[in-house]
């Protein structure tokens, strides 16, 4: 295990002052890209993801369309200036390709794809600033952008990460905790349906820690879900106001 530059957990407080079950500040704004059919910007602390949705629209080339449902295209990508390290090449890495896949597979169970045969729904996610938990912030942003685009969904998909630090299960890893912790578990969850749609894990977890992590993830997702609903309402409210003018 690598030695962290500062202790990750002291007397139940994390290095940034949070309690183990506490999210960083969550900021959500819907409708941030005016050309897109739907869009959202989501911040978990210093991690910032911007998602835009186009579609459902006609699928090209046609021979790749599906006769019975919409095709989803999902891209997760990190800006070259989004990490504390050296400039990242904009060429998609193997990591970005894998995350694009797991995000697609997390969103597909939430969308009524069968309502749009032969068409395509595009979800583009860009990490503008990275400080841990980028894929789960992306998932929340993507699902809000889909909602903003008016695409019929079974439930919102909320992403949160859970981690293992000095044997303690904690919510919403930041970059420091991600680098030096003993385990990482990004989760995508549909709060109303109680379904897990994204689940990855690495590190070394006991069965009990795993079980605890699921419970903490649910709690975190429900918290973020509240924020998400507020953001959606805020936008509709604005729209309503504008219409009323």
């Amino acid at each position: 295990m690598k030695q962290p530059p500062v202790p990750l957990l002291v007397e139940g407080k994390r290095a940034d002052g949070r309690a183990p079950d506490q999210m960083r500040e969550v900021k959500i704004e819907v409708g941030v890209v005016s050309n897109a059919d739907g869009s959202a910007m989501v911040s978990y602390g210093n991690t910032v993801a911007v998602a835009a949705v186009y579609g459902p629209r006609e699928m090209h080339p046609r021979h790749l369309s599906l006769p019975d449902r919409a095709v989803m295209r999902v891209r997760y990508h990190m800006a070259p200036f989004s990490t504390k390290d050296e400039r990242k090449s904009p060429t998609p890495s193997r990591r970005e390709i894998e995350i694009s896949k797991v995000l697609r597979e997390a969103l597909e169970p939430a969308i009524f794809l069968e309502q749009f045969p032969r068409s395509r729904i595009d979800v583009f996610i860009e990490i503008v600033q990275a400080d841990g938990s980028t894929r789960v912030a992306s998932l929340t942003a993507a699902s809000l952008a889909l909602a903003d685009a008016g695409i019929p969904m079974r439930d919102l998909v909320i992403g949160v990460s859970v981690g293992l630090i000095n044997g303690v299960v904690v919510l919403d890893l930041n970059g420091l905790e991600d680098n030096y912790g003993e385990g990482d578990m990004p989760i995508g969850y549909m709060p109303n349906l109680g379904r897990f749609v994204l689940l990855q894990l690495d590190g070394a977890w006991t069965r009990e820690q795993f079980a605890e992590a699921l419970k903490l993830a649910i709690k975190g997702a429900e918290y973020v879900y509240g924020k998400a609903r507020e953001a959606l309402k805020a936008k509709y409210f604005e729209v309503a106001e504008e219409v009323a003018k």
Partner: protein, 274 residues
């Protein structure tokens, strides 16, 4: 480059799919296995004499070759005292009528990365012992070669990787007259692996509310959910949900199935590996 809903592999008939579903509901599978039963596993090591380690695994009719090549390189800046592991998977065009030629696609990349994470987090390989000096370390290339895909590539590939690594010998690092570190291919030591920590992945499929291990290809094409859980000793070291959704209780059930399967897989592995 984006991830696109796949078109390929849709070659199971609706009839077969319904049959698989009906059988599963009553606890039976299309090939007669029980829900917690793996297909036959054979593991052979030393199958490629140009590699530094190698293995061939059959899991039913799924067939994967793994070859390990050892090189020299620089450590990663954040782990200066550890060797480097690189896992790469090629799903050969041989392996099914729906596999295309080209650089690894998202399926092959995910396959390699899931196997990689299991090895990396299990402690199976002692990476510290793969460091040579502060600027030079061993680079361990594990290439996974899928020759025939009859489902559950992850578990077959994981077994192939660990068997190939276990069979690997490292050429000893020596300094030549001008002080440059080179590998002496004629002088070899065993790869530092610890069999007690071997990571064993279990792929679990879901149809309606039934969970079962080691789906074959026909089953994979009928699944509503899929998850891979890798266990080393008593720890969960890697998980990857790859399809559909799971409830909390389904996840706990899957974890328990993975712990059970791990015991049986370990027996198979210990029989084949020294």
């Amino acid at each position: 480059m984006a991830s696109v809903s796949p078109y390929a592999k849709r070659f199971v008939s609706e009839l077969t799919r319904q049959q698989i579903r009906r059988l599963i509901a009553s606890g039976v599978r299309i090939d007669g296995r029980a829900l917690d039963q793996y297909r036959d596993i054979t593991i052979r090591t030393g199958v490629v004499n140009t590699a530094d380690g190698s293995a061939e695994v059959s899991l039913g009719r799924t067939r994967v070759i793994s070859g390990v090549k050892i090189g020299l390189g620089q450590p990663f800046p954040d782990a200066p005292d550890e060797g480097v592991l690189i896992v790469n998977a090629e799903i050969l065009p041989h392996s099914s009528p729906y596999t295309e030629i080209g650089p690894p696609d998202e399926a092959a990349i995910e396959l390699a990365r899931v196997v990689d994470r299991g090895i990396r987090h299990s402690g199976f390989v002692d990476f510290k012992r793969l460091a040579i000096d502060p600027t030079k370390v061993y680079v361990v290339w594990v290439d996974l070669y899928v020759l025939n895909d009859d489902g559950n590539l992850v578990d077959a590939s994981n077994l192939a990787a660990i068997a190939a690594l276990r069979s690997t010998t490292l050429p000893v690092a020596v300094k030549d007259e001008s002080g440059v570190i080179k590998l002496d291919k004629n002088n070899r030591v065993a790869m530092p692996t610890d069999l007690s920590k071997v990571p064993l992945s279990t792929s679990i499929g879901k149809i309606d509310s039934a969970l079962f291990v080691d789906p074959n290809l026909e089953e994979e094409l009928s699944l509503s959910g899929k998850i891979v859980i890798t266990i080393s000793q008593s720890s969960i070291v890697s998980v990857q949900k790859t399809m559909g959704f799971f409830t909390e209780s389904e996840l706990m059930q899957a974890v328990d199935m993975a712990y059970s399967a791990k015991q049986k897989l370990q027996e198979a592995v210990l029989k084949s590996l020294v």
